[in-house]
């Protein structure tokens, strides 16, 4: 065995070890909460965590599609920070239209979906046609879309009391809320499209290696653009869940969604053997992030420390991903 092979092997195993750090950290935290936080390891708590994580899970699926198509380099690869803004805009539009009694849920949904597609389309256009950095483009889009939502809702809280939306949070089957079942179905459908269809495999090929994908005849830009549309549609779907959990649209919901979405999606990479962002990883990451949040609160940790902790975890997760990639 040559020295070179040896060193490559040791760097690969080092890279794998570093890539596993976030996972070890989170599992460690969960064990800690299990031992210290009251009633953390109970069925009730598991249900609460799952239900609270539904909105994050949905937008994580959207974000993972963009990362898969654009590559998981946080700066130059695929990322869409505008999804939480799309969600609150759709929620704001639907809440406003539903509170004007002449509009039904169907019409409100169509208007919200069109708004979401417009955001996704703009992102796709700016990133693929003008070759703008996705990170900056979608961050700017986030700010702009939140601004539009402020105009739509006048930054006011709007109550929504609609049977179809309330049904999402209500028990449907053996005490399991309908929302949980819907998200399970949506996750399976998304998994099928992203991981089991030719389109999904092409999407992953485009993100894996842009050049190789181009040479083999794939329209990389089109695939990347489509992923932004998928993300915006997931943002739209998420808005029903945001309306359901909050019985309406409240200003400021986007900030927390943004932090948890980024943390969950990149944490999810730690679950994949190759440490890349996957849809399953992102969905599981969403549950973990909410579980950590609930764990800290159950132990009575100050809400501002929770903010610091979440921010630090993002840094650890993204830094270890970058480091393990460099060593690989």
């Amino acid at each position: 065995m040559s020295l070179e092979t040896l060193s490559r092997r040791s760097s690969t195993s080092l890279s794998a070890a570093i890539g596993a750090i976030p996972l070890i950290l989170f599992v460690g935290l969960l064990i800690y909460f299990g031992l210290n936080a009251p009633n953390f390891l109970t069925v009730t708590n598991l249900k609460l965590v799952l239900v609270q994580s539904l909105p994050v899970m949905l937008i994580c699926i959207g974000l993972s599609a963009v990362v898969m198509a654009g590559g998981d380099d946080v700066v130059s690869g695929g990322i869409d920070l505008s999804i939480p803004a799309t969600t609150v805009l759709c929620a704001g539009i639907m809440a406003s239209l539903l509170s004007a009694e002449s509009t039904g849920l169907f019409v409100a949904s169509i208007v919200a979906l069109l708004a979401a597609l417009l955001v996704g389309g703009m992102n796709a256009l700016l990133v693929t046609r003008l070759s703008m950095t996705p990170l900056l483009t979608t961050l700017a889009m986030f700010v702009a879309v939140v601004g539009v939502n402020n105009v739509v809702t006048q930054r006011k809280r709007i109550n929504v009391d609609h049977d179809a939306i309330n049904a999402i949070r209500e028990p449907f089957f053996f005490g399991i809320p309908l929302g949980l079942i819907l998200v399970a179905l949506i996750t399976l459908i998304a998994f099928h499209f992203l991981h089991r269809t030719k389109w999904g495999l092409n999407l992953q090929a485009a993100g894996g290696s842009r050049d190789a994908a181009s040479i083999s005849g794939l329209n990389v830009n089109r695939l990347f653009g489509q992923s932004f549309t998928v993300a915006s549609v997931m943002g739209f779907v998420c808005s029903y869940f945001v309306l359901a959990r909050g019985a309406g649209s409240s200003p400021g919901v986007e900030d927390n969604l943004m932090v948890e979405m980024v943390l969950a999606t990149f944490l999810g990479a730690a679950f994949s053997p190759r440490r890349v962002v996957t849809m399953w990883g992102a969905a599981l990451g969403a549950v973990l992030v909410v579980a950590i949040s609930v764990g800290f609160k159950s132990m009575g940790v100050n809400v501002f420390w929770t903010g610091l902790i979440k921010g630090s975890l993002i840094v650890v997760v993204v830094a270890t991903a970058a480091l393990s990639q460099r060593l690989n």
Binding site: P38, Q52, R245, A247, S250, G252, D255, V303
Partner: protein, 326 residues
């Protein structure tokens, strides 16, 4: 006959004194010993929220109860989700302070789990009791004070993000508007302004600067904040920055921070109605104990407020409410 009246009078009197002594006895024996009480507050950055929270938690502890506290960091959805943690902590009762209607589904879940909910400044059909200030008096008093301060005529801009979202704000701003109906020469500038829930002073400062730029001297006489007074801090800053000393400011809540601003010489902030948030929180905790004692509670418990008119009024209120001397 005289004797009969005497007998009745004595019986009634003794019945009254019995009832009174019973209440006193009951109050002295109120206890939360062995009870775990969840206290959820929407945020602790602002004086009002923090004091209501402190009043509730310290009283629960004084009565021998254990507190499980959760803080929403001034995010209504986080605040609502925090009720799940209280549900899972198997608390015996919940005191929920402020919050918009996103807490309603959570109250429903708590109620379904047999956990009684007591609210502060948030009337709810799922709660046993809501402890709040006399919002009706607050709204009408600030309406009269403001109308007087501008001589019964002029143009008024209002920060009013929560009239339709929070019932307490609906009462306060609604009754302020009701009073103004009797002042046909006072006009509310349209569209009304909407302040941010978090980061209110800085946001209100920026919005006021924009408002002043759009409305030159002589076209605006007062700026009112409809439901609270944290935005008023930013409004006063903006007026000073722009040198617009012809405009007066009125608002509601009257914590030490805003009373201090009102007490300054030539302060534009001329009227307020001060609340007693610590007493409100503490009363909510006492109501929990009363409930466990078997007393039946009225749906609303009102806590007195202190009207504040002018700089001297601010100094008096500051002293009366125990914040010190100005």
């Amino acid at each position: 006959m005289k004797n009969l009246f005497g007998f009745i009078a004595v019986s009634v009197l003794s019945a009254v004194s019995l009832t009174t002594s019973n209440t006193v006895l009951a109050d002295g024996h109120l206890s939360l010993e062995g009870k775990k009480i969840g206290v959820a507050v929407v945020g602790t950055q602002h004086f009002w929220d923090r004091e209501a929270f402190n009043g509730a938690t310290s009283t629960v502890e004084k009565l021998g109860g254990e507190v499980v506290a959760v803080d929403g960091g001034r995010d209504n959805q986080v605040h609502a989700d925090n009720h799940d943690i209280l549900l899972n902590s198997k608390v015996d009762a919940v005191i929920s302070i402020l919050g918009d209607d996103s807490v309603e589904p959570k109250f429903e879940a708590l109620k379904a789990a047999g956990i009684p909910v007591f609210t502060v400044d948030h009337p709810s059909q799922h709660a046993i009791n809501n402890t709040t200030s006399d919002n009706y008096y607050m709204g009408t008093t600030i309406g009269r004070y403001m109308a007087d301060a501008i001589g019964g005529e002029g143009k008024v801009a209002v920060f009013n993000a929560f009239e339709n979202a929070l019932r307490i704000c609906g009462i306060r701003t609604g009754l302020w508007k009701y009073v103004l109906q009797d002042y046909p020469n006072i006009e509310i500038i349209q569209p009304e302004l909407a302040e941010e829930f978090a980061n209110a002073p800085e946001d209100a400062r920026k919005q006021t600067l924009d408002l002043l730029a759009a409305n030159p001297k002589g076209t605006i006489d007062a700026i009112h904040v409809g439901c609270w007074d944290q935005p008023a801090i930013g409004v006063v800053q903006a007026l000073e920055e722009a040198g617009r000393d012809e405009i007066i400011v009125t608002a509601l809540d009257g914590g030490p921070d805003t009373l201090e601003i009102m007490a300054e010489e030539n302060s534009p902030f001329v009227a307020n109605v001060a609340q007693q948030p610590n007493l409100i929180g503490s009363t909510a905790a006492m109501n929990v104990a009363r409930h466990f004692h078997g007393d039946s509670l009225l749906p609303q418990t009102y806590v007195d407020v202190v009207p504040v008119n002018g700089a001297e009024g601010a100094k008096e209120a500051y002293k009366q409410l125990g914040y010190g001397e100005l």
